[in-house]
């Protein structure tokens, strides 16, 4: 294999319109065959633009001005349109729903080679091999509309891979824009393992733009961090952590943040590294935790709450006319001609309570929220509301109907959601986080304050800063007495925001208790901090890096978490 890089960006700058500020500035980057590169950075730092430039979409498709030179697989992007480049560069953009253009999986996978006039035998083989490599061979004869998000994502990836066939001209570089933001943790993990395998076995390099680094950091060879369109960091993951601890603490995944807050080095890439480091570390002597401060030092909200018995006791108390924000009693919901989605959910949420709702895709989380908000009438059982229930669905832009932000909600609500300064903007021009807060303002508007605000996957596609702001917002709301219910895959966010957590499995509540308890045990529904510290404390481990760091010892870095 020659050492020639697969992708070379030479002093790339990009500007959308003539008067727009540049979204990329003097970016130099090269990617070698088989390399797995993580592209990190806040929203608007230029991650998507960089991927667009690498596959030729910018400026061929997006318009705008590209300065510098992009050479990918030996071709200068100014000499070839994205369609021609796609033979060696596979690109999957953000929303899988618009990344798949046909109705059948098999036809989707064969489309790129068909449009390139490849012989039928080549197409058949490529489709077969790509499907096997991605584990979607059983989907080949299915229709696209019945696929889950993860499956759709894989089909889009498969079509991007198939464009070059599976012979010598196969696709050698993959560009993925936030591939896991649409997926639940399991599907997201699987996708990254898949990329790892493609890199190891086929030598396919990949650039993955992501917000949530905790899932990818231990898979990748290299991290490139962008800041305001410039490359702020380019190097191996461990060194990246050391850099980020000083320069971009928002980018640190929870395990590394735990160590950084506790003043320990080196920062761990993931749970395993963190546990190993703690086990080895003479100063972090495990026994000290085990028998020492653990129980006193664990955060107050974790302390003093019992186990599963608590839940029953609490429910008993509340049925005697305690105030309720929203409640479900024996909630059972069947779809027309479909299966039962909710099977006897009992739930009471008190005013001011902050509740996280976790569960796999398809467990019925969204349905539960929609039923509480009154969008579905239950088949059996009933819903009691202590007032209005505001619901923020998964796409914040669904809530924005007007041309000006100021028309969406009254000024007081905009103020409360922290978006008063955006009043004169067009909702379409806002960033994802801003749109989310405007949608929140819509839900908060009106004469009566909502008794419950329910949010469906609010942190999807959000960077660290936006998540923190949202967390603070929700906390303020709860302090005013509005109950919060967040359905999310983002366990870390749940741990930061919620004081109570529910686990929904197959339409039933499998766990309902203090967040400290529900989110500390388990593999998928536990936070990184909890998993790092699980066997080092007595009782439930702390959930958030800051709480964990308090346990680990001296807090050296200013506390950047929402909740201490």
């Amino acid at each position: 294999m020659s050492a020639a890089p697969l992708l070379r960006l030479e002093r790339i700058s990009f500007r959308h319109g003539d008067d727009a500020p540049p979204s990329l500035v003097d970016v130099d980057l090269s990617v070698a065959p088989g390399e797995l590169v993580l592209l990190a950075g806040a929203s608007g730092s230029g991650k998507s633009t960089l991927l667009h430039a690498a596959c030729g979409l910018a400026p061929h498709h997006t318009g705008g001005t590209l300065g510098g030179r992009v050479v990918v697989a030996g071709t200068d992007t100014r000499d070839a349109r994205p369609g021609a480049l796609a033979r060696s560069v596979g690109t999957v953009l953000q929303d899988p729903e618009t990344q798949v253009v046909l109705n059948g999986v098999r036809s989707e996978l064969s489309l790129p080679l068909e449009l390139r006039g490849a012989p039928p035998a080549t197409i058949a083989r490529a489709v077969e091999e790509v499907a096997l490599a991605l584990g979607i061979e059983r989907l080949l004869d299915r229709g696209v509309h019945a696929l889950s998000g993860g499956e759709l994502q894989r089909v889009a990836l498969g079509a991007a891979l198939a464009a070059g066939g599976t012979g010598r001209d196969a696709v050698r570089l993959l560009l993925l824009d936030e591939p896991t933001s649409q997926l639940d943790p399991v599907a997201g993990d699987e996708l990254l393992w898949l990329l790892r395998r493609l890199a190891e076995e086929q030598g396919i390099a990949a650039i993955v733009a992501e917000h949530r680094l905790d899932r990818c950091l231990h898979h990748v060879d290299r991290v490139v961090a962008l800041d305001a369109g410039r490359v702020a960091w380019d190097g191996p993951p461990t060194a990246f952590l050391a850099w980020a601890a000083d320069r971009a603490p928002d980018l640190l995944p929870p395990a590394a943040r735990l160590f950084a807050l506790a003043g320990r080095t080196p920062l761990p890439l993931g749970v395993r590294a963190a546990r190993e480091a703690l086990g080895r570390d003479p100063t972090g002597d495990g026994d000290a935790f085990r028998h020492g401060r653990a129980t006193d030092e664990s955060p107050a909200r974790d302390a003093g709450r019992g186990g599963g018995r608590l839940r029953r006791r609490r429910r008993g108390e509340r049925t005697v006319g305690a105030p309720v924000a929203a409640a479900a009693e024996g909630l059972w919901l069947e779809l027309p001609d479909g299966p039962a989605v909710l099977r006897g959910v009992d739930l009471r949420i008190a005013p001011g309570e902050r509740v996280a709702l976790l569960g796999r895709n398809g467990a019925g989380k969204s349905t539960l929220l929609r039923t509480l908000a009154g969008l579905h009438a239950p088949t059996r059982g009933r819903v009691v509301r202590g007032g209005r229930v505001g619901l923020l669905t998964q796409r914040p832009s669904d809530h924005l109907l007007h041309d000006r932000v100021a028309d969406e909600a009254d000024p007081a609500a905009l103020e409360r959601a922290g978006v008063a300064h955006l009043a004169d903007r067009h909702p379409g021009d806002l960033s994802g986080g801003e749109r989310q807060r405007v949608a929140l303002a819509v839900a908060l508007g009106g004469a009566d304050r909502p008794a419950l605000v329910a949010l469906d996957e609010p942190t999807r596609g959000m960077d660290g800063a936006a998540r923190r702001r949202l967390g603070a917002q929700l906390e303020a709301l709860a302090a005013e007495g509005t109950a919060i219910l967040v359905a999310t895959h983002d366990v870390e966010f749940a741990a930061e925001v919620a004081d109570r957590a529910l686990l929904l499995i197959d339409g039933r509540l499998a766990a309902d208790g203090p967040a400290g308890e529900v989110l500390s045990g388990g593999w998928y529904f536990g936070t990184q901090t909890a998993r790092v510290l699980a066997d080092r404390v007595v009782g439930p481990p702390p959930l958030t890096p800051s709480a964990g760091a308090a346990l680990l010892g001296d807090v050296r870095i200013a506390n950047r978490d929402v909740r201490p």
């Binding site: 003539d18 498709h61 030179r69």
Partner: protein, 225 residues
């Protein structure tokens, strides 16, 4: 009697194929192709969503506006594919080619209006054209109904047209109202989406120079394309 049906259907099919060939030859860019497909899907959904109102549907308006903005060949294609797509829900049959033709013609009318007014049709001009296009659609469909389902080519046609008139008028009135409400805004939005985006490549140094000194909308020297 029935001797007329098949030849007429053949002519309709031929006209539709001709129109689609034209679209094919016009080599639409991916952006235009995606817009044609999306607008056809919107028009098809509109046909279903408005089904409870007798014969009021936004389909004709959408097709006409598409023709107005995108031009004749894509306009025809939007109309034809709107019929084809919505009939996946309503049922394909001998009526499909007629609907494809009729809505395709609406797209052409839109393109004609765009050409005649150089893209500056007023709100009322547009709305009245939409209403007229609705009447034309009704006429074509009545003709096809008459050809397929009437016994004798005698006074049946006049009777048919007479009895269909209220429905065609409802269609035209619906078109008029919808076009008055949404037409101009839809044209603006569609224009924004359909705008060609021509990228430029410049040398790295030229980019900086441009950034530092160029006021907006002055095209820099050193553009490589």
């Amino acid at each position: 009697m029935s001797g007329w049906v098949l030849p007429a259907l053949g002519v309709a099919c031929g006209a539709v194929l001709l129109g689609l060939r034209w679209y094919e030859r016009s080599r639409p860019s991916p952006r235009v192709l995606a817009l044609v497909a999306t607008l056809a899907a919107l028009a098809a959904i509109g046909r279903v969503a408005f089904a409870p109102l007798p014969n009021v549907k936004p389909t004709t308006d959408i097709v006409l506006v598409a023709g107005f903005v995108l031009g004749p060949a894509p306009g025809f294609a939007v109309g034809a594919f709107a019929a084809l797509t919505s009939n996946v829900l309503f049922g394909q049959g001998p009526w499909t080619p007629w609907q494809m033709l009729a809505w395709g013609l609406c797209g052409l009318i839109g393109a004609g209006l765009g050409a005649a007014t150089r893209g500056r049709a007023g709100r009322w001009t547009l709305a009245l054209t939409c209403a007229a296009a609705g009447l034309l659609f009704g006429l074509v469909m009545n003709l096809s109904t008459w050809l397929t389902f009437s016994g004798e080519p005698s006074d049946g046609l006049l009777l048919l047209l007479g009895t269909a008139l209220p429905y065609d008028l409802a269609h035209a009135a619906g078109n008029l109202v919808l076009a008055l409400l949404f037409g101009p805004a839809a044209i603006v939005a569609l224009r924004r989406s359909a705008r060609r985006r021509d990228g430029r490549f410049v040398a790295a140094d030229a980019f900086d120079a441009e950034a530092s000194c160029a006021p907006p909308s002055v095209s820099p020297a050193g553009a490589a394309r």
